[in-house]
């Protein structure tokens, strides 16, 4: 053995030992893979059933309601940005579709971007599901419509389980969640809400980001002159100031704008007599502090505050605000800028001729209404922050937030 051979072997020996160790590890991994349990079905596969595909079916399945005529999609119509397709202030549900609800239907578009409810370091209530943020996540949020008396009105988890077990996709449900899933109603409900959450989170229909404004932000199309003027009015702190609560710019990590800062505001929206519950003068929907939400009932300073909604697809809404008081986008915009200059246009007149401003809140809580920020900082006799011509431009811009825009052509139907 000469020196070169010896040198080569000295170098080779450690490599051989390393190769042996690597081989043992590789064999152990292969054995582990062969012996492990079969893949859980809930991991899903491109072809087989998954929580996602089941969620899609559940979302559209009317048979899961007491009436047999109401599905999630009934109120959250995919053709209307997952919001209501009619202009009723509240929807009718229950076994006979005759039980009125309490609030207008919010859009579920982009719902998965909603953070859970929390108080920011400066005390600002933020996030949460439902208009009062009382549901901490999408799973919890899905529970209410399944069992609320004025919605799908399942009497119990067992009631829902029976209906689910009779659906054409019950086998797929068992395949994904286990053969014995229907023997445990609580587990079934959890599986249903999980499937719905997966669907709303992963399906691109819930997060298309393909409005004209999205293309504009990407530099791919140009807004019209009116839309540009509207964007300016939207952003300007001395005009619409919409940007203060509905940020229009990309986030710090270049994420697309959600047009909501997920906070809450008290706008003093007029009481809507079209809501049957409002026939009772003692019933007042005060958002964060109740009565539907119960954990903040002591926080009187939060009474009347409702979550700032996304303005994506706002032009497709049939009703506006938590109580559906306004039925056109123009009326809603006009309320923003004329509420304080011309309150008589929005509130009833009292016996003494005085305008009953903020009439959907007890007088002691009127101080909660936002009267400081632009454009609510006006007074009777002053000019509104936006003129009718400027509202035309603002409305043009808001129309550019409708998803389904086809670059080079008209918005997709």
């Amino acid at each position: 053995m000469d020196d070169k051979q010896d040198q080569f072997l000295r170098r080779a020996r450690p490599l051989t030992r390393a190769a042996a160790v690597a081989s043992v590890v590789a064999i152990a991994l292969v054995v582990a893979l062969l012996l492990r349990e079969p893949a859980r079905a809930d991991a899903g596969s491109p072809d087989g059933p998954s929580p996602f595909t089941l969620g899609e079916k559940i979302f559209a399945d009317r048979s899961l309601s007491a009436s047999g005529a109401m599905a999630c999609a009934t109120c959250h119509d995919p053709a209307h940005a997952h919001a209501q397709s009619n202009d009723l202030a509240v929807q009718l549900g229950g076994a006979n579709l005759d039980v009125p609800g309490f609030r207008a239907v919010p859009s579920l578009q982009y719902i998965s971007f909603m953070p859970g409810f929390f108080f920011a370091p400066d005390g600002t209530p933020t996030g949460g599901f439902n208009r009062d943020g009382r549901a901490k996540d999408l799973l919890t949020q899905a529970l209410r419509p399944l069992f609320a008396a004025h919605e799908m009105a399942n009497a119990s988890p067992a009631d829902l389980t029976v209906r689910l077990a009779q659906t054409p996709y019950a086998g797929e449900f068992r395949q994904v969640f286990g053969d014995n899933i229907f023997s445990d109603p609580e587990a079934t409900v959890l599986a249903v809400t999980f499937a719905l959450a997966q669907y709303q989170t992963l399906d691109s229909d819930f997060r298309p980001f393909d409005s004209k404004y999205d293309y504009f932000l990407a530099g791919k199309v140009m807004l019209s002159d009116a839309e540009l003027r509207g964007l300016a009015l939207f952003n300007r702190a001395d005009k619409g100031n919409c940007n203060a609560c509905h940020p229009s710019g990309r986030g710090p990590n270049h994420e697309s704008p959600m047009f909501t800062d997920f906070t809450y505001d008290n706008l003093g929206v007029p009481r809507n007599p079209d809501i049957p519950a409002n026939a009772d003068p003692n019933y007042v929907d005060m958002g964060l502090c109740g009565p539907e939400r119960t954990d903040l009932s002591e926080r009187l300073d939060l009474c009347g505050a409702f979550k700032v909604p996304t303005l994506r697809n706002v032009a497709t809404r049939k009703v506006f605000f938590h109580n559906g008081q306004f039925k056109t986008l123009r009326d809603a915009l006009r309320f923003y800028v004329r509420r304080d200059t011309n309150p008589e246009e929005f509130y009833p007149i009292g016996p003494d001729g005085a305008v009953l401003k903020f009439n959907d809140l007890p007088p002691a809580l009127h101080g909660n209404v936002n009267t400081q920020e632009v454009p609510y900082d006006r007074h009777p006799g002053e000019a509104p922050r936006l003129s009718e011509a400027e509202l035309d431009d603002l409305e043009a811009f808001l129309n550019a937030l409708t998803d389904g825009y086809a670059p080079g052509g008209a918005p997709a139907p």
């Binding site: 370091p121 999205d214 504009f216 932000l217 990407a218 530099g219 791919k220 140009m222 807004l223 002159d225 540009l228 003027r229 964007l231 300016a232 009015l233 939207f234 952003n235 300007r236 702190a237 005009k239 940007n243 940020p247 710019g249 990309r250 710090p252 270049h254």
Partner: protein, 467 residues
């Protein structure tokens, strides 16, 4: 432990190269230079130069001896160690005497080096008190920064340096302070005249960016041009090569990370205060698809004078998906001059920056208060009388400075009526004095007057140290 400025500044590194060249032409003066004021690296270089000179003289002597039939003088004679500082050598000193002096110098340096670790610590920091003339409720006092630095010499030619900075005294989720690594690099001297550097380092631009310690500038706060236009302390990650010529031209070129225009916040005042300061990345998970480059030169061949400039350019779109300013380019250049005749110190600097291809991006910012400027610039002239009064270590240096700054001089065009007005060019006078307790500890006082926004007129007091 003392701080070695050459570790932290390619310009100063280049300057030392030029000094060494000049030392070759003036051996005696170099030997007589105060040891305490010189750093070890430059002294080692000095010794090498002197030895070369000795060898040259010895060769000449040998030739003479040969011609006269005599033996040459001994190369080096043993000599008792003697303090070098303060001594002076006659210009006509024979090689043997010169060799003795070199030997003594080398022993002194070696002894000092043995005492000194290869790793050194250094630090600087400053506290500022600012009281607006028209609104005393806005008065603030702040430990603006405290910096701890360290360097390590791997060998005679290779070293590293780093700075850890804490701004505003406290850094937490509820405080405005920041903790940051301001520099972290290694450098190597390839030849006597060329070196290289890699890591996170300061861009060699202007008079302040690399020399931003409180004892290096006169006012309580750094001047506006070199904070609003040149975002001092501006550092990038990358590589650089630098060097100097015999005739006094120091140069520095680098390839670095750059700016990320996708970070521009049109709703913030930050972009109006300092356009580039609002989109610099500081090598913190920096988007680095688009690299930038710079060239910097300084001519120091005439004693007392420094003439120089820097040109920096790079794209700032960084490949961010669906970003409408993908081709935007940030360019910043500056030219500066400094003349220090006797006790006086005159300085002038002008800087101009542009950001191109911002029209589509700015359209998305319509109605917001701070779109991306297309042009921003600023300049200043400054005069100081160093040590107008001194007593022992104490000294007083009054100064004055006039600046003009515009952080949004032009915007890319937008449809009529939808833009925001450009900024006016603000003009600021600063007058004050620095009181040095030692060259490393300074108290400052000055007054600043703004021509347009007089609400900013203010008195300032400052305290800084540096070692």
């Amino acid at each position: 432990m003392i701080r070695n400025p050459a570790l932290l500044s390619p310009v100063s590194g280049c300057t030392s190269t030029s000094k060494r060249l000049r030392l070759l032409l003036s051996v005696v003066a170099a030997v007589a230079s105060p040891l305490a004021a010189a750093d070890e690296a430059s002294l080692q270089a000095e010794i090498a130069d002197l030895r070369a000179q000795i060898e040259q003289l010895r060769s000449q002597l040998k030739e003479l001896a040969t011609q006269r039939g005599q033996a040459p003088a001994p190369a080096v004679q043993a000599a008792a160690p003697a303090p070098v500082a303060g001594t002076s050598a006659p210009a006509t000193a024979p090689p043997s005497e010169l060799a003795q002096r070199v030997d003594r110098l080398e022993r002194t340096v070696s002894a000092q080096a043995e005492e000194q670790s290869a790793t050194t610590l250094f630090s600087y920091g400053e506290i500022a008190y600012s009281r607006p003339v028209h609104d005393s409720s806005q008065t603030t006092a702040d430990l603006a920064r405290a910096v701890l630095g360290w360097s390590h010499r791997f060998d005679d030619r290779t070293r590293m340096a780093a700075e850890l900075e804490l701004e505003h005294a406290v850094s937490s989720a509820d405080d405005k302070g920041e903790v940051e690594i301001e520099q972290f690099y290694a450098e190597r001297q390839f030849t006597d005249r060329v070196g290289g550097r890699a890591g996170l380092f300061l861009i060699p631009i202007g008079l302040l960016n690399e020399h931003h310690e409180p004892t290096q500038y006169y006012s309580v706060f750094r001047n506006f041009v070199e904070t609003s236009i040149i975002p001092t302390t501006w550092r990038e990650g990358g590589v650089a090569v630098y060097g100097g010529t015999e005739w006094g031209l120091d140069w520095n070129v680098g390839l670095t990370t750059g700016f990320n225009l996708a970070n521009w916040d049109p709703s913030s005042q930050e972009g109006r205060d300092s356009p580039l300061g609002s989109i610099h990345q500081e090598l913190s998970l920096a988007a680095a698809k688009d690299l930038s480059g710079y060239v910097s030169v300084n001519y120091v061949g005439v004693p007392g004078w420094t003439l120089g400039g820097t040109y920096f350019t790079g794209k700032a779109g960084q490949g961010v998906p669906d970003f409408p300013a993908q081709d935007a380019r940030v360019t910043l250049w500056e030219a500066h001059a400094r003349w220090q005749p006797g006790p006086f110190d005159f300085a002038a600097l002008y800087s101009r920056g542009t950001i191109s291809d911002t029209q589509a991006l700015n359209l998305t910012f319509i109605g917001q208060p701070t779109p991306v400027p297309q042009l921003f610039f600023g300049g200043y002239v400054q005069a100081a009388w160093r040590n107008i009064w001194s007593y022992n270590d104490y000294s007083l240096t009054p100064f004055t400075r006039y600046e003009w700054v515009n952080t949004a001089a032009a915007y890319a065009s937008v449809p009529q009526g939808l833009g925001v007005p450009t900024s006016p060019t603000e003009q600021i006078w600063t007058i004050g004095t620095d009181f040095y307790v030692t060259p490393s500890i300074v108290f400052k006082a000055d007054y600043q007057q703004f021509r347009i926004d007089s609400s900013k007129n203010s008195f300032q007091l400052g305290f800084g140290l540096n070692f």
